[in-house]
């Protein structure tokens, strides 16, 4: 089972904070991989919030192809983080040429484009790069988005972090998500490694989603090019989140109502019974069947945790004003925030979504039986 840790803090933190928490939980993962997602960046990225950052793994040849491709479109490198690695990687970690984190200036011709149009174009470029990389096996692209860095690698999280020297001062963020372990049901593949990302939305999950195939079929048939990949059954959680938010205009409070709708008994007494019944019907193919604990981040840097209907996976939220952490196990939370008020820790159950907004003042608990804020 994957181990998950996420933290949101007023002060930028090193990703090592999350890696250390994963390391405390190492009994629970097999050390076969790590994925890190950083947002609301600090350090040198602090002053370039709008610049799209490309994160990925490249071979020398792939990097040259990338440069040609990006230059042709008109992207200029604004800042790059060079990760030089020792000659010999730690056990299980494959030898790679370049771990790329590079911020770009938008092409001049893109000036004046709406945010929506920019978002579409950034996605298309990421998908094009992914396709190019898959063709020649020379690039793996995780994200291409402003204020977002993703790093993924096979191997034990701590080994990988030390190897990549993730404790470097240029690398810090106010929102960090980290996952230990690859999805091992399929071939080990970095595209199967959580967290997953699409247009500002990111999630990571533990457990297995047994309704994966019908959900994948439903998402891929939405006619949206971003709904692709699916090397892992967990990728659908990110895309469902994107779908309900970007396509249906629903808030995070509705997420649980889509993936695990209320049963009819509970539904009939709900203040939004009619609306939710409709949603349950029309989004029926997006119902997940866990056990899953999902931790995710929204484009406005809100962090959340939700459980599936079965609530068979652990998950806890705790912290204090200014810093809150989400962890798949309490020991992870203890390692990251030992001085919090533990009596206020919260373990979301089968109806709950725990939400920490970017103001980081409190953990808001949204129960499915509560009235839904409907801006509709």
């Amino acid at each position: 089972m994957c181990r998950l840790f996420a933290i949101t803090s007023d002060k930028p933190l090193s990703p090592m904070k999350a890696i250390e928490a994963l390391d405390v939980m190492r009994e629970g993962h097999d050390g076969s991989g790590v994925g890190i997602f950083l947002r609301d960046l600090g350090g040198p990225f602090e002053n370039m919030k709008d610049a799209p950052i490309l994160s990925g793994v490249f071979s020398e040849k792939g990097l040259r192809r990338l440069d040609t491709f990006m230059m042709e479109i008109g992207f200029m490198t604004k800042y790059k983080l060079s990760i030089k690695v020792p000659k010999t990687p730690p056990p299980w970690v494959p030898k790679r040429d370049i771990y790329l984190v590079r911020a770009y200036e938008y092409p001049e011709e893109w000036d004046g484009l709406s945010r929506k149009e920019l978002n579409e174009r950034l996605l298309i470029i990421r998908l094009q790069l992914r396709e190019m990389g898959e063709e020649k096996k020379d690039m793996i692209v995780f994200s291409f988005w402003p204020d977002t860095i993703m790093i993924k690698e096979i191997g034990s999280p701590m080994d990988v972090a030390n190897y990549l020297k993730l404790d470097r001062k240029e690398l810090e963020a106010r929102v960090i998500m980290a996952q230990g372990r690859q999805n091992t049901n399929y071939e080990i593949n970095l595209y199967a490694c959580h967290p997953f990302f699409i247009q500002g939305f990111s999630t990571m999950t533990n457990g297995e989603n047994t309704a994966f195939i019908p959900i994948r079929e439903y998402l891929t048939s939405r006619g949206f090019h971003g709904y692709m990949g699916y090397q892992s059954d967990s990728e659908v959680f990110t895309h469902i989140l994107h779908y309900i938010s970007a396509k249906l205009g629903l808030g995070i409070e509705a997420y649980k109502h889509i993936i695990t709708p209320l049963q009819n008994e509970d539904l009939k007494d709900h203040p939004n019974a009619f609306f939710l019944k409709q949603l349950k019907h029309s989004c029926r193919r997006l119902i997940i069947d866990g056990p899953n604990c999902i931790i995710g981040c929204l484009p406005n840097n809100t962090l959340f945790m939700a459980q599936d209907r079965k609530k068979l996976r652990p998950g806890v939220v705790g912290g204090k004003q200014g810093v809150f952490a989400f962890s798949s196990e309490i020991c992870g939370l203890d390692a990251a925030l030992p001085d919090r008020d533990k009596s206020k820790d919260f373990q979301p159950m089968h109806l709950d979504t725990a939400i920490v907004s970017p103001e980081r003042q409190e953990v808001k608990i949204c129960r499915q039986t509560d009235q839904l804020p409907l801006p509709l």
Partner: protein, 544 residues
């Protein structure tokens, strides 16, 4: 027959018949129950002459003949009276002295069962016991990474939807703009398919309705039953139980005068309207109620004279195309109930099913598509239609589902699969396999007759005389002397038994697959088959 007499081409011996009556003279009490009960008069009281030669020892007296007669059971060999193997004789015999046995080789009767140029007609289903659905295994077992669930204690949401479901985008925008949201019913995924009042006896019909009502009202299982094409008794039309009933309209429009006139008096809307365009057992052929069964009651409900054959036309005469059908019939039926009732067509499985489906996707009133496969049953049809016409359900449903996936409408038009589900008794496994291939719901007919009322029909051609109204169990007969054999309450009880045990078995299948939150429609990764070509055709795993 005397050995020097000419024999007619259709003169058959007992050996030539499909069933031979084995009768034991020693056990027989000559009570006559077997001859009385035999639905086709295949056996009669026989007077047998027997010669015994009395031989003596020595030369004093000569051997003599002793002529005696004894009484017993004689099997008729006239094709019109050949034994159908129902074994009612065995059921009623106090001493187990009689039983029909299946011939050890292919019978010769089949070449002569068209006397007068009339091809064989019968009830039942395709005479082939094999079933592809039985070959499908559930292979994706939850192990460690996602623990298998406890089928007995875990909560399961097993309902499905019947009705046109809007896309999420349309749904939200219609909610905002007060647009028309099509009616959708949450129902149990196992439905009793259309068997008409007329094809079934009043006791059988009432037993099924009673069982379904009990399941709904006492056990909260939203089970639905379709009327078939034969109208609906007015008492039911005006009762609150109508909401558990799907009214079927087919090409004969039998009973619809009554139904339409009753609309103002209906306390509840029916669950749905099924427009039958085809039936899996006899595709391209209309319904058929033979004159034997058209008594006063049936005639009254159907609005026809008594004692006449009631063949429905193969197609709806008012329509010449699917567009016509969709435009006129689905919409006018929807309109009749104020657009509050889902209306969906039922077709025979066919290689042209996708054309129908694609048409329905473009009509916002189409509430689903029921597809009935070649293994479906019928009360009356030509033997040739039953045995040789039709398309298997598995690949037809799979094609239809994948077609919907391709155009992104897999949630919008529910597919209902029928035909051969539980053919060999494996009801829940067959139903689950079809659901995982893409069906939202499955329909059964023959199975419920077998399980709830003891229908004797089989795919090795036992009984299958539903068409002539002589059903020895009283299931498909309109003769009160026959149907009073069937206890209405006990049929209802068996219906409840069947659905409860199905429910447990379905959970026993879903729990190890890790599914409980929703019905696993299209969960094709869970199933496999040990036939390579079938696996490719169905786009599921080949497992050996």
């Amino acid at each position: 027959m005397s050995s020097n007499r000419p024999i007619a081409p259709s003169t058959l011996s007992v050996k030539d018949l499909p069933w031979q009556i084995i009768w034991d003279k020693d056990k027989c009490t000559l009570c006559g129950k077997c001859t009385a009960v035999c639905p086709v008069n295949a056996i009669e009281l026989g007077v047998f002459r027997k010669r015994t030669i009395e031989t003596t020892i020595g030369l004093e007296s000569t051997p003599s003949n002793d002529f005696k007669i004894y009484y017993g059971i004689r099997q008729k060999t006239d094709p019109a009276y050949s034994c159908v193997g129902c074994a009612m004789c065995n059921l009623v015999c106090p001493n187990d002295a009689i039983i029909p046995a299946k011939s050890d080789e292919a019978d010769k009767l089949r070449y002569h069962i068209n006397q007068g140029g009339q091809p064989r007609r019968r009830g039942g289903r395709r005479s082939t016991p094999d079933s592809l659905l039985d070959m499908i295994k559930f292979i994706r077992i939850s192990m460690l990474t996602d623990p298998a669930l406890d089928a007995g204690r875990h909560e399961f949401e097993l309902t499905t939807l019947l009705g046109r479901i809007l896309s999420p985008e349309e749904n939200l925008s219609f909610l905002n703009e007060n647009g028309w949201i099509p009616p959708v019913r949450e129902i149990y995924p196992l439905m009793i398919g259309g068997m008409s009042f007329g094809a079934l006896s009043p006791n059988m019909w009432e037993g099924l309705q009673l069982g379904v009502s009990y399941l709904n009202e006492e056990l909260s299982m939203p089970v639905r039953i379709c009327t078939g094409e034969g109208g609906c008794p007015p008492r039911l039309l005006r009762s609150r139980f109508l909401k558990y009933v799907i009214l079927q309209i087919a090409s004969g429009y039998f009973g619809w005068d009554e139904i339409i006139h009753d609309i103002p008096d209906m306390k509840e809307d029916p669950c749905a309207i099924e427009i039958k365009y085809g039936q899996g057992a006899k595709p391209g052929d209309g319904g058929l109620l033979m004159w034997y069964k058209v008594n006063k009651l049936i005639a009254a409900i159907r609005g026809v004279p008594t004692g006449v054959n009631l063949p429905s036309p193969p197609t709806h005469q008012t329509q010449y195309s699917i567009e016509e059908s969709v435009a006129k019939m689905i919409q006018s039926m929807s309109m009749a109930w104020g657009f509050r009732v889902p209306v969906y067509p039922k077709i025979s499985a066919t290689s042209t099913a996708l054309a129908v489906l694609n048409n329905l996707t473009r009509n916002p009133y189409a509430a689903g598509l029921a597809i009935d496969g070649e293994d479906g049953g019928t009360g009356a049809a030509y033997n040739v239609s039953m045995n040789h016409m039709g398309h298997p359900i598995a690949s037809n449903i799979r094609d239809a589902y994948l077609n919907l996936v391709k155009i992104g409408m897999q949630n919008e038009i529910p597919l209902i699969a029928g035909g051969g589900i539980g053919k060999n008794g494996n009801l829940s496994a067959n139903a689950a396999a079809l659901i995982m291939l893409g069906a939202s719901c499955v329909q059964i007919g023959k199975y419920i007759m077998q399980a709830a009322a003891g229908c004797l029909g089989s795919e090795t051609d036992r009984c299958n005389i539903c068409n002539i109204g002589l059903c020895p169990k009283g299931i498909t007969s309109q003769d009160p002397r026959l149907y009073r054999r069937l206890d209405v309450d006990k049929v209802a009880q068996r219906v409840v038994d069947v659905f409860l045990s199905f429910d447990t078995e379905l959970k026993k299948i879903l729990a190890p697959l890790g599914r409980s939150t929703s019905l696993p429609i299209g969960m094709s990764d869970a199933i496999g088959i040990n036939d390579y070509n079938a696996a490719n055709r169905l786009a599921i795993k080949y497992v050996v």
